[in-house]
Amino acid sequence: MIQLPQSIRWQIFVYYSALIATAIVLLGASHLVVISRELEQKAGLKMQAQLQGVFPFIFPPSRFNPGGPPTPPSKEEMDARLQNRQFREMIEMITSQNQFLIAVFHTGEIRYSSDNVPSDFQHPEDIGFPERLATQVVRSSLTVTSFSPRGDGVIMGVPLISVYEPLKGEVTGTILVGLAAFTVISLPGYWLIGRGLRPIHQISDAAKRISAGDLSERIDMTSQRSELGQLAGTLNQTFQRLQEALQRQVQFTADASHELRTPVAAILADCQFSLKKERPVERYLETIGVCQDSARHMSQLIERLGLLAKFDGQDTLLERESLDLRELAEQAAGVIEPLAHEQGLSFEMDLQPGLVLADRLRLGQAVINLLNNALRYNQPQGWIRLSTGEDRGKAFVEVEDSGVGIPADKIDKVFERFFRVDASRSKNTGGSGLGLAITKSIVEAHGGTIRVFSQHGRGSRFRIDLPAKN
């Protein structure tokens, strides 16, 4: 088996060329066959005409006695006549007993036997020669035969090679024309195949660039409706998803390393101070305290960041069940209400049913996050209001507080990771700057939206809208 080149373009081209070559060869061959048939026919007709002249030549009328059988010419006489014959073809005359009278081979050899002439031999023309002619190819000769009803026969023949002589030029011409046709048809084929395969090259080029690291690269789709265009579209979507996933990873890594740097710096700084030389025991204890605090802070960060990374943009991890937001809110309120009363805040609820398909644990966490913020950023003697219900095909949870609110220029950023309205606040309230980002990612994983309405100094209202379950 011949090893074909691996490129699809070459493979298609080779098969295509083979098909074309076969077609051209078949055409050429049939053309030559037709021509050779014509040549045979022509040669046959010519021999038939010559056959007419053969009899008077071999049996001149002078040798025939009127009313009786002819007298065959003597061998010497015959030899002399045949040496001067006008025709070049091979001739055989045989009797009905299958004995030859005359055999002239195309090599020039002549045999003649007057002994074989049958006693009742009649002049060939008398017994119907040269009638009942048949032209056929026998071995390597083209022959014309004629038999009398009695079975006497004459065979005239020429070697096929001489019949086909004019074919030589024709064969060369046919091969040349065939080669020209092959070139003209197959070479543009190579170009055409390349053109057809161009989208594949575009796809593979884009894939190469992407694998080289540029994930923002896309396949250029000029023919979107072709099969390859559809493939390119699908691949582009895949790349888009990959890029987004990678961006989330990069973001997560950057966030994590950024937030972890300061506590690590604190641990390193204090340990290096303590280890530099001997210190009082109290100073060592202080260092251990610094390590513990920083480690706690980091572990909390890691846990929350992990949660965020998990939920970002995907809902595959949700364990959805049919649940009533009223019930969910009641559970969350059970946790927060006592804390609110402890802080001297009033807690109001307006809970109407709102059916959704949601993850009880995660969505509960989202509601608790909002309530926690309301608790954290409230004012003395303030209030928190929690409401649920259904409105225009959406089920909603709303948490409103009488807290410090969010300045208008910062309201767009509250859902961003690590954003704090006032960075110094986190020290007193223990926030990591991730609560609202986590809440948002949980809500969005559910296919919902979260919005905030706030007036600086007068309080905030957070509203989660989820698709209602019918």
Partner: protein, 218 residues
């Protein structure tokens, strides 16, 4: 040498203060941008260590404000973001050096010293005044090639004088750069140190210029 450190993480700030005091720097600290800016505008520091992410005013804002006010002291930025964009941003705003968190304390101290040296126009770690040589990285002093034993404060005073050699350094300046906000100094503390240095290096090198201050001469 007096240093101001502005950092909002309580633990980190305290560790840096302790470490620098251990290295005989006078150290003041601030926990947010507002306080930091107030201190740097009202006292004379040899170098400022400035965190980027700060409450109230971030490090870049503080940097911009203090440069606007004409303060030329060297500024070493402490940043949790090691990215290039931050560096470019800070250097364009007039920061002199960068340190990405977390960092080695020894490196921090080395950069603080280098920053101070550069700002005094003496980038080499050796300060030479006649027969007196100070090695600012090992904090050792020699007189005619022989080591001279100095306490941390004595060395610090000597270094200030050597940095501003052939110049009268006022008592006020010396107080500001030798003692930090923690020190509850008596006014004659400085006289005690000057007396001791004269004993160790010789009267002729540390001269009193009446009405101006003290001067280190070859």
């Amino acid at each position: 040498m007096r240093v101001l450190i502005v950092e909002d993480n309580d633990h980190l700030r305290k560790s840096i203060v302790d470490y620098l005091r251990d290295e005989s720097f006078a150290v003041d600290s601030a926990a947010d941008g507002e306080e930091g800016l107030y201190k740097v505008l009202n006292w004379d520091y040899d170098i400022l260590l400035l965190d980027v992410m700060l409450p109230h005013r971030d490090g870049f804002e503080v940097l911009q404000e203090l440069r606007k006010a004409g303060k030329t002291l060297p500024v070493l930025m402490l940043t949790a973001r090691g990215e290039l964009s931050d560096r470019v941003h800070g250097l364009n705003n007039g920061a002199d050096d960068y340190l990405a968190k977390p960092f080695e304390m020894e490196e921090m101290v080395a950069r603080v010293r280098a920053g101070i040296r550069r700002s005094n126009g003496k980038p080499a770690p050796h300060l030479v005044v006649g027969p007196i040589t100070l090695n600012t990285s090992t904090r050792m002093a020699t007189l005619h090639g022989k080591p001279v034993e100095l306490t941390a404060r004595e060395y610090a005073l000597m270094e200030i004088l050597a940095t501003r050699r052939e110049e009268a350094v006022s008592r006020n300046y010396l107080y500001e750069h030798l003692f930090d906000e923690r020190d509850d100094t008596l006014s004659n503390m400085l006289d005690v140190y000057i007396y001791k240095l004269r004993q160790k290096f010789g009267r002729e090198h540390i001269q009193t210029r009446r009405g101006f201050g003290y001067q280190l001469t070859a």
